[in-house]
């Protein structure tokens, strides 16, 4: 993930240029930016709207509608805690409560040092591992509070440190 101050505006412009004039390509364009930088910088909305002949409010509206698009930069490690059915029936909610305390983060929050972001998702599709979570692209399953602690420790979160 790129921190806000490190955005390469040239690269961002290049992504926008690829889709110039194609108003139907708004979502793929936004996904492209999201994928590259980890979020969509607020400052780019005007430029995107212009390039695609849309209103800025239309671009804004699409970003806020889709959960996969975000105006907020995320942490280096994005933790996705599953709150799907299979995880829920196996105690996923208690695990989430524990995780929030351990990280000192609420759902959707990012730590001030941009190290961790805590998100919840409707199902990771790894229901047989329930309760499950992902850290970036790695899956972790059959979670218990001690297991959560040791996984977070792997990513450099020591207990008691915020």
């Amino acid at each position: 993930m790129t921190k806000p101050e490190e955005i390469d505006w040239g690269q961002l412009e290049a992504i926008i240029d690829k889709h110039r004039g194609e108003s139907w390509a708004l979502i793929p364009l936004l996904q492209d930016i999201q994928e590259t930088f980890g979020y969509i910088p607020e400052e780019s909305i005007e430029t995107i709207a212009e390039a695609l002949n849309l209103f800025a409010s239309q671009v804004q509206g699409v970003i806020s509608f889709y959960a996969g698009l975000s105006l907020k930069p995320k942490g280096k490690y994005v933790i996705k805690a599953c709150r799907g059915t299979a995880c829920h029936v196996k105690g996923g909610r208690s695990i989430l409560r524990y995780m929030k305390k351990e990280l000192g983060l609420d759902e959707g929050e990012t730590s001030p040092d941009y190290k961790f972001t805590l998100e919840t998702v409707a199902c990771l599709g790894a229901c047989f591992l329930a309760p499950a979570m992902m850290v970036n692209r790695a899956y972790f399953g059959k979670l218990s509070p001690p297991k959560v602690t040791s996984i977070l420790a792997e990513y450099g979160k020591k207990k008691g440190e915020d």
Binding site: F65, Y66, Y98, S144
Partner: protein, 625 residues
Amino acid sequence: MGRINRDQLNEIKSRGKGIIDIRLGKTLVDGEKHLMIGGGTACHASRSEPVRDAIKKEIKKRGLSQRCKVIETGNDSFATLAPVMVIYPEGVYYVHLTPDDVDDIVSQHLIDGKLVERLLYKDATDNDKPIPRMMDIPYFSNQTLITLRNLTLIDPENIDDAIYRDAYQGAAKALIDITTEEIINQVKISGIRGRGGAGFPTGMKWQFAAQAEGDIKYVLCNADEGDPGAFMDRSVLEADPHAVLEGMIIAAKAINAHQGYIYCRAEYPLAIKRLTIAIEQARRYGLLGKDILGSGFDFDLEIYQGAGAFVCGEETALMISIEGKRGMPRPRPPFPAQEGLWKKPTVLNNVETLANIPQIILNGGQWYAAIGTERSKGTKVFALAGKVINSGLVEVPMGMPLKNIVYDIGGGIPENKQLKAVQIGGPSGGCIPSDLLDTVTDYEAITGTGAIMGSGGMVVMDEDNCMVDIARFFMEFCQEESCGKCTPCREGTKRMLEIVTKITEGRGEIDDIATLEELADMVKDSSLCGLGQTAPNPVLSTIRHFRDEYEAHIKDKRCPAHVCKALITYIIVEEKCPGCGKCKRVCPVEAITGEKKVVHKIDPEKCIKCGACIASCKFDAIEVV
């Protein structure tokens, strides 16, 4: 090879006969072995890739590459056992593999021809008896594989493997041998109904779009799979992407469309990767693009990635989303068959529906219609999860009792607990209680219990699950995912969630049940799209079958299953606590106090009920009451 015609397609197929015969256990060629290692998302999540790499390396090192082939399949069917491997021709199944097991597999199995007993599946219901062959394991022997027929047999990233197994034969027949009327007729005869949830007859849907006026039409594949607890479509795409492409080609021919889109959720990177490879390979063979198989018919398709909105799985919202806008459903009519994507006649089908089409065309509608019940034909894939011993993908003929799925295939409930309910149909579905477990998988029979067949999520719940909590869980999901376009859904789900939440917090009143039922009727009857129209189902079905649990929360302020947070307390049983201090250290909120070697205490005001203490206590001294 570049673009191919039908004869060349058949040539490739016949070239692969020997290979497929080995995998089907039919021939034994000079000790040739095919090691089919599972490589779907479930296997990858269980670290199958290091095992794959280690075995490839070891085989090479020992100079066995000529005789032993390692092939990564999309198989993650029996997910509980992942990573897994099937060795053909003998069909021996090794489970829970790690890179450390590779040595034994190579030296014992491949070189000495002896089973590696410790890696075999052990049947817990039969004194842990090892079962060497995959097809003798009850989990598999009780299934009927049609949609998932290639699960362990092909490399999904190799189009030739798929062709060896008849891929594109159905398309060839549809494009060259029979008329479009006959395609639609065969699909109608097969009786197949949409597997995406609603169960609409596919043949009829195609006929409407075929009859619609217009030169430009579209075929879309719904791979949004948003229901929590469902991953059937993902597995089909990961294991056999060509079946879906071929289904789309046949649909395109039937309605005369030349462009298609696969709307796949972005959360499925492996499925997208394999689809992308499949599309490239199909284009190279001229199975997509202009003049497919020399038939004169043109069709091509693209993948469109979803951006994370559950409601975009709904057909009109999906099309609006492809057009680049906020994916909110619109009223029907006009139906997509008349006015769909870009206002052109459009057919949208689910992944699983499409994956069945090639075999229906190849073998005839009658063949498919011979499987199943009177009104539900063929097989259905379920994602079995929750409180069940064997979790994973399960494909069964329509008409199988739920009991058989849970016990014969699923192996029953872990830890000798009592089954309470089976939830099917996800947020649009309902909970089928244990005394109705004879209900068979048939659209109408399941609807009769207050649930719906849905897309295939099947979550088993036991005595430790609270049905009011489950109702709250789904209500919350629907409320969050409601797009907000229409008031009954937006406001109704919010009101319903408030009431159910109040009940789970012990603040419910006895009239609340009736209020919920009234609201439910209103939301069902007046919402615009399927999300709102089905959102009340989980609440209604739990009220219908588990009214006593609602009453316990309301009248006695008690959660019988000890789940609802506001109605439970964590306590330390004095007689059992030696004061070791472990719980005190793990509690994230410092709710536990006590000197060393003295009984500890939990402060109920501070306790967040996360269960960390219970997980850490070696003396079973902490209880939830």
